[in-house]
Amino acid sequence: MAIIETLSLGQKYGRQYTLKNINLRVDAGDVFALIGPTGAGKTTLLRLLNLLEKPFEGSIIFDGINTTGPNSHYLEIRRRMSFVQQKPVVFDMSVFGNVACGLKWRHEQSEAIKQRVEGALNLVDLIDYENRNARTLSGGEAQRVAIARALVTEPEVLLLDEPTANLDPNSITKIEEVLAHTIAEQTITVVMATHDMSQGQYLANKIGVLMNGKLLQTGSPDDIFSSPISREVAEFVGIENILDGEIVDKDGNLATIDVNGTTIQAISDYAIGERVYVFIRPEDIILTLAQDITSARNTFRGRIVKATLIGPLFHIKAYCGFPLLAVVTRRSAQELGLIAGREIYASFKATAIHTIKK
């Protein structure tokens, strides 16, 4: 059952569309991550869903109610959701008061308010701060207040706009834990905007890729990460090896693709003669010093151009007739002596490759 559905939803502020032809479907119980680069329109979409703005065109159906229709009860619908905004604002009052607001506005009894607010503050680990003025809190603490304030009303739909942007790793972990806990414990539908794909993968069961105001692809995290539908999406989800090629031979669905004079074998649905993009995820590439006999169909001799340690992993740039980026653990990089200039063999399976038509 769709709890939120948008039909040809569009928004524009000046002459240009900020959102165009958005057809989104979020089912009850979904955790839907909207991912996209800055300026893609994520915030605008969430604001529209929360009925804070009127769309320029199209409509939003909330639980079967057309919110753009006549007689739309904005307040009633809005009270079934909560929205944690990108830059949350806390009210100039105690932490307790901040979290209690939504319940007071819904005319809950003060005993119940006290109990639920304290529960929410316990959840975000701020119970000791309940009497402090929220304006004196740090950014991460204020963010937790905003989350407690949104959860305390037990919304059917929780809208989150970059809930962990600009926070330190500890606060991020804490907030992600709170969200994961809520998702597991409550029957709640979540729509969250993020430009952190790993967060989308960790929390969401559905992902929508929003770019330039358009919803380019929706699907399970696995779909999006293994089969992006376009070069833009592929780049955004971190597929760093994108090669230009042409299918020169086909044997069943095993295609032989010519890339810059080198041939790569890949599983592909396209026919001979098609020009395609070839996507290879860096983590699917195995680097060895000798030409091992592996099950991988593609093995290329090449030379390391650059090796950079990023976090726990070495990012190895190599050239094998075409540029290739691979990631290896620090330990194996050191064991193999993977440094610039070293000759290596790069191999990857035909099934690790995803192709799309140019």
Binding site: N50, L52, L75, R78, R79, S82, F83, Q85, K87, P88, V89, F91, D92, M93, C101, G102, W105, R106, R149, A150, T153
Partner: protein, 228 residues
Amino acid sequence: MEELWQALGKAVELLVTFDAEVMEASGRSLAIAATSCSITAFICLPLGSLIHFSRFRGKRLLLNIIQTFYGIPTVAIGLMVFVLFSSSGPLGGLDLMFTPAVMVIGQVILVTPLMLGLTISALNGVDKAITETAVSLGASRFQAAIITLKHARYAVLTAVIMGFSRAFAEVGLALMVGGNIKGATRTLTTAISLETSKGDIELALALGIVLILIALIISLTLNRLQQR
């Protein structure tokens, strides 16, 4: 010069002995200004919120007009109220002329533009995100207006005190429609102006000192508020 010192001495004496006439005029001034100010606040806070939160054509113009009336001369309001409430005027039947009631009515008209305009600016000074956050958390329009007003509380209080200060200090209106009747409508300002012209400098000075003291207290309070 000698005479002036003597007069000042007498004035202080009148003050420290809580002279009945001084106390009465001061008390009435405060009471009338406080009453009119409360009524004005009762009108201006909701009305100001309504104007602030509504979008309509001519809002800019309305705000400009309100501002133009901030400094409207008190005698102009006095004249208008006089014409309305004098025995031959349209509201003459109410028989309110030369009573504290008509002075309150005049002061409400006098102070409304100032308090209304300042209330609207006070609300304007609140981050829009506050109101929006309230709305997104399920506040009705009324509830959102209340929390926005709460965030503007110091500026709104400033507006109310500015209004009080204007009502308290004015003389033209009080004289024209109140008439400075001893025991009925005599206030600090009307008494000062009349006693001075009659030559009773001692009483006028004593009253003047009270006036200045109260004005000083108001101004100090405003300063404190503006620092918050």
